[in-house]
């Protein structure tokens, strides 16, 4: 079921995305991007994924915005009075073609909120939902999977974050974050 609120939210996200792409002022673009992330975060909550929503709100709308702002503080504003960027029609055509190709997969998706979707009927999902609390004593099944059943994957993710930090320092030829 798609209600009025979903439609409004989707329109808001689409508008923010367009504003991010089209605004000529980078500062305005960043603010639009932050609003876009916030909209996506609310969408995640609507889709019953509060963990992802929390991440999107904290990283996408919060930290990324600050990092972008700190970055553009080193640049200068483009001259000229135009508000919107001129559209490169060839690039726009390619982007629209890509969206069209990807959209063909939409029909293969199960309906919104369907109980017969492959994720819900899968044996692994059923196993986690049935046994997560008894085996890990953790009420949040997402955490049980992340740190319990798939703990090794999460260790890999932690190592990726660590490697990203280290490689940043290597690229910048620094020994500390300063």
């Amino acid at each position: 079921m798609i209600g009025v609120l979903d439609v409004v939210l989707l329109a808001f996200i689409l508008g923010c995305a367009l504003a991010t792409a089209l605004l000529r002022d980078v500062l305005g673009s960043i603010i639009a991007f932050s609003a876009y992330s916030l909209g996506i975060a609310v969408i995640w909550v609507f889709l019953r994924a509060p963990d992802v929503g929390l991440t999107e709100a904290a990283v996408g709308a919060g930290v990324m915005t600050i990092l972008f702002l700190v970055t553009i503080a080193k640049t200068s504003r483009p001259s000229g009075e135009r508000t919107l960027e001129r559209i490169d029609y060839r690039a726009a055509g390619i982007a629209i073609a890509l969206v069209a190709v990807l959209s063909t997969t939409l029909v293969a998706l199960p309906p919104f909120g369907s109980a017969e979707s492959a994720v819900l009927t899968d044996e692994v999902t059923r196993y986690y939902l049935a046994n997560a609390y008894e085996q890990t004593e953790v009420k949040n099944a997402v955490t049980a999977v992340l740190a319990g059943y798939r703990g090794f994957d999460t260790l890999g993710e932690a190592a990726v974050v660590y490697a990203a930090g280290v490689s940043l320092l290597v690229v910048l030829k620094k020994q500390v974050f300063a």
């Binding site: 929390l54 930290v63 700190v70 949040n140 932690a158 930090g165 974050f177 300063a178």
Partner: protein, 136 residues
């Protein structure tokens, strides 16, 4: 500045809450770590990035990241040494070992993420405020 001074302890507590309470409600080490990192970003915006960096010290983010990865690795290897599988928390054998093992891992992830967020902010912001000698 006053606003930041007032809400900083609350945001910090929220971050720790999200980190610790990730086991029983939505949240977890990653989200909580980002929120804790946000505290430093707020302080940096309010009181000046250089001041905040000097106050925190350049080594703290690195220490946090390395400590987090090491703690995660050690809790995984520790269960192997005790005769179980990798990251098999129940081999530690104390009261609710799995639950507290997961909480500990979340805390380690939180350390890594908050360290990275703080460090990224400091690195990207370096060279601002006329201090161009850092940018080569």
């Amino acid at each position: 500045m006053t606003t930041v001074r007032v809400i900083t302890p609350f945001v910090f507590t929220l971050g720790l809450f999200v980190m610790f309470h990730g086991a029983d409600s939505s949240g977890g080490g990653f989200q909580g770590g980002v929120i804790v990192g946000t505290v430093v970003l707020m302080l940096g915006i309010a009181f000046g990035i250089e001041t905040t960096r000097e106050w925190i010290g350049p080594n703290i983010p690195i220490l946090m990241i390395c400590l987090g990865v090491l703690a995660f690795l050690l809790i995984g290897i520790g269960s192997v040494l005790l005769g179980g599988g990798f990251l098999e928390y129940s081999t530690y054998g104390f009261y609710h070992a799995t639950k507290y093992g997961i909480e500990f891992v979340e805390l380690a992830i939180g350390l890594i993420v908050s360290g990275i967020v703080t460090g990224l902010f400091f690195v990207i912001a370096s060279g601002l405020q006329g201090n161009r000698s850092d940018v080569r």
